[in-house]
């Protein structure tokens, strides 16, 4: 379904005279099979949201290839890309800013239909009320504005809007992190239900290991713009090989685990994690590790395995 091949993203800052570059995503490769959910875990600032946006080409990659359903998304022209867009949707972290504050809920959900065109007002209305029901909202919400709704309700609206586009692939960027625990659970159940009903392929970005375990078939662990370990969810939770993954699992959540930028080794050569790794050896500081396959669809980026 989706194949990401060595994508990079560098952000530049500064003026005309002096430019600084920050590498947000560094040589990341992974693939997602049809109907699968891939969890992308990592602490704040590790580049996971950037990966999500890159995959949908909401931002342009500096280099690399993204193959979606046989098409190289990075090579598409603007017009072709716009045609493809409805098939890949993103759900953002903050439901309140994901909806136009001056648009009624119903109009927001109807937006994909309007953009596609060719549907009568009545048909659009029917489709919208179907979707409203699918995501567990009531019909009277259609005429409200986002500020009159709770965060959980708004996130349902965002989900309904994404579904209205009739996508094959959805990137969910921490869709529940701003919500109460009980609301979180409801929304995750809803997403799982929708996923199996519509045979969606999902990339689920989060820092919450519990959520990732519940939602995903496979997990990719990110740190400092790199994927350090990929594997089958259940297997990985029991057989983590990378020191960072183990540390995360011991912490239970990547959230209270934030490290300042300087701690990430982004210099030339060496492992990104070496400055924090308890097992770092001389080779870790000098030589960049390569992804090693250690069986059962389990890959690790570490010198020690």
């Amino acid at each position: 379904m989706l194949e990401v091949h060595r994508i990079n993203k560098r952000f530049s800052s500064g003026g005309i005279f002096k430019k600084n570059y920050i590498t947000a995503v560094d040589d990341v490769s992974f693939s997602i099979n049809r109907g699968e959910t891939l969890g992308l875990v990592g602490e704040s600032g590790c580049g996971k949201t950037t990966v999500g946006k890159l995959v949908l080409r909401l931002i342009e990659p500096t280099s690399g290839k993204i193959i979606f359903d046989g098409v190289d998304v990075t090579k598409l022209r603007k017009k072709e890309l716009r045609k493809l867009r409805p098939r890949m949707q993103m759900i953002f972290q903050d439901p309140d800013s994901s909806l136009d504050p001056r648009m009624k809920i119903g109009d927001s959900i109807a937006e994909p239909f309007r953009l596609r065109g060719g549907l009568s007002r009545r048909v659009v209305g029917e489709r919208v009320s179907d979707l409203v029901e699918t995501v567990g909202l009531s019909p009277e919400h259609v005429n409200r504005y986002p500020y009159q709704m709770s965060g959980g309700q708004n996130q349902r609206v965002v989900l309904a809007r994404a579904l209205a586009a009739n996508p094959d692939f959805v990137v969910a960027d921490e869709p529940t992190s701003g919500l109460d625990v009980s609301v979180q659970a409801q929304l995750l159940n809803l997403m799982n239900g929708v996923k199996s009903d519509l045979a969606l392929t999902i990339m689920f970005i989060t820092h919450d290991l519990e959520v990732v375990r519940y939602m995903s078939d496979r997990v990719a662990v990110m740190y400092g713009g790199k994927i350090l370990e990929v594997g089958d969810t259940e297997y990985l939770f029991d057989h983590a090989e990378h020191p960072y993954t183990r540390e995360l699992l011991a912490q239970q959540s990547a959230e209270d685990y934030y490290v300042p930028e300087d701690d990430v080794n982004n210099g030339d050569g060496g492992c990104v994690f070496c400055s924090r790794c308890p097992f770092a050896e001389e080779v870790c500081k000098n030589k960049e590790p390569v992804m090693v396959n250690i069986g059962r669809d389990h890959q690790v980026l570490c010198h020690r395995v």
Partner: protein
């Protein structure tokens, strides 16, 4: 927009502006005399029954001239601000939304205009173009458009990377759709507020230019030039200056009230809509 409002500023401002519009439209019916007709037998007369605001040095009815002056002032205020708004919206949008080189060029242009004090620039332009209503309006538009371009650009910058805009693009929306459906509705209220206040400012500036002789030429009745002609008789016949002065003051105040009120009215909703 909802008409029922409890905001006192809007009510006061709106009623005065409505009155002014009414007076301007029906000036021939409202005015007791022909504003340019000179009654040389009744020069510099103080207010009386015949001439409620008195007469000027040529014996013209001040009230009628103030009434007809409303036309010029409103015309100048509305035209100057509409044109500035239009230019500001187009250039500000190009600058803020598309960014890059376009942004750089437009903003340097704006900086260039802002580097010169606005009244000085207007004076210089009006002087260079020669006196007259149209030239005065051009001069005022030249100094006014920059602030609209800046406000529009700033508002767009603050909104264009918000997630609902990104989401819309992710749904396959094009630039025109995003601009008209999402961005414009979200930035328009602050722009309307400053435009409303801008009308008052433009009227004041136009009166200033006319006072200095760069604007509307006599005998066309205009508040600024009326002030100028009354200047020589300030001791003998203060009413010549007082009434046009009051007219300017009330008009500018009305637009300021309206702008203030609109800002208050739009603010709380805005705050509610974008919490945190």
């Amino acid at each position: 927009m909802r008409l029922r409002t409890k905001n006192r500023n809007i009510l006061i401002g709106m009623s005065i502006v409505m009155c002014l519009v009414f007076i301007a439209v029906f000036a021939p019916l409202v005015a007791p005399h022909d504003p340019t007709e000179a009654d040389l037998g009744a020069r510099l007369e103080p207010p009386s029954k015949e001439y409620p605001f008195g007469t000027d040095h040529l014996g013209r009815c001040i009230l009628s001239r103030v009434i007809y002056g409303t036309r010029v002032s409103l015309l100048v205020g509305v035209t100057v601000i509409s044109a500035s708004l239009l230019i500001g919206l187009v250039l500000g949008t190009a600058s803020g939304y598309f960014g890059g080189l376009v942004d750089e060029v437009i903003m340097r242009l704006v900086d260039g205009f802002l580097a010169i004090p606005s009244m000085f620039l207007a004076l210089a332009l009006a002087g260079a173009l020669g006196p007259g209503l149209t030239n005065m309006m051009i001069a005022l538009i030249a100094v006014e458009w920059t602030s609209y371009a800046r406000v529009v650009r700033g508002s767009i910058l603050s909104i264009k990377d918000q997630e609902f805009v990104v989401a819309s693009r992710g749904l396959g929306a094009g630039d025109v759709y995003i601009l008209t459906r999402h961005i414009l509705p979200n930035i328009i209220s602050p722009v309307i507020v400053i435009a409303t206040m801008g009308v008052g400012y433009a009227i004041l500036a136009a009166a200033g230019l006319s006072f200095l002789g760069f604007g509307v030429q006599p005998p066309t009745p205009e508040w600024g030039s009326m002030l100028d002609s009354g200047r020589l008789f300030l001791r003998k016949a203060p009413h010549i200056m007082v009434f046009p002065g009051l007219a300017i003051m009330i008009t500018v105040l009305a637009f300021n009230f309206l702008g203030d009120g609109l800002r208050d009215e739009m603010d709380p909703r805005f705050r509610k809509e974008i919490p945190h």
